[in-house]
Subunit: 152 residues, 2 copies
DNA sequence: GTCCCTGCAAATGGTTTGCAGGCGG
DNA sequence: CCGCCTGCAAACCATTTGCAGGGAC
């Protein structure tokens, strides 16, 4: 259950290709941002990404702009894990990123959960409410094993 | 499915009593904040609450402080609906507020969904992940009937 | 009278934007 | 070259906090 997506994070050439296809440039700063996203594999905040960057390689504002662009292009997905901070995760091509997370309330560690547990539920809700285009966000929180043992 | 909680929003005397029980004061500003929460019945943001207040009756900062206090006391529940804004909803006594929402992505209208669809799921996840104290947040988004008809 | 509470204003933290210069294609 | 990108700084927005005066009990 740990890293259901770690089997195929896109390589840098593929990422560059996807950018080029949208006629966007693969610049130095973007390269570094993608590099961190690629090595991270879990949702990461703009600030955390910035701090993981080689110093001086990319401005914080540019990190935000890159994340915005990559999200629009569908290369990364944004998650709201409930603490008011946006986190982003690299997607494989064709992946819509629909999975859920289990977040530790002490260390903010994130574990992915691969199954989506509500087959047909959105249709049911649509039928009852009259809403259309229904999607959902589901996040779990708890205390991870490491934090459990560290302190009580 | 519309307002599963509208059957019993607490009256002001009961709210005052709950405050007094915690030896907190029922001041003018708090009275007005509670009044808006009571009449609203749906999750409302601090700013929206402030604007619904009679002008000059309560400072914005005090709205935030009141919401913080009421949340600590368990009188209201905070929801993160995904847009980075916290919203608060009045709870009845004994209600833990565990239900989910269906939010319109165009008008931000909110409908409550009373059922929680994951019986036993948290236990399963705990067993698989080793996490403890697991809870979840689940929010649905879509386009409400009114917005569907207004524009395409 | 004693604290709790309040308004005001300033600080904070995450994120966005204006601008002029710079670099990728 | 042209237009997309970038760094820097300032702006923004939701929320929090310091402080001194004021009100509830």
């Amino acid at each position: 259950m740990d890293h259901p997506h770690s089997h195929g994070h896109p390589g840098m050439p593929e990422l560059a290709e996807r950018l080029r296809r949208s006629s966007r440039k693969l610049t130095g700063p973007r390269h570094h941002v993608l590099e961190v996203l690629r090595s991270e594999g879990h949702p990461i905040s703009a600030r955390a990404l910035f701090e993981a960057l080689p110093p001086g390689k990319c401005d914080l504002a540019t990190v935000y702009r890159s994340l915005q662009l990559l999200e629009e292009m569908g290369m990364i997905k944004r998650y709201d894990l409930g603490d008011g901070v946006k986190r982003f995760e690299l997607l494989e091509e064709g992946d819509d990123g629909h999975h859920h997370h289990l977040v530790c309330t002490r260390c903010a560690g994130v574990v992915e959960i691969e199954d989506c547990f509500m087959p047909g539920l959105e249709e049911t809700i649509a039928a009852h409410s009259g809403f259309s285009n229904i999607t959902h966000r589901l996040e779990f929180t708890g205390i991870c094993p490491a934090c459990q043992s560290q302190s009580q």
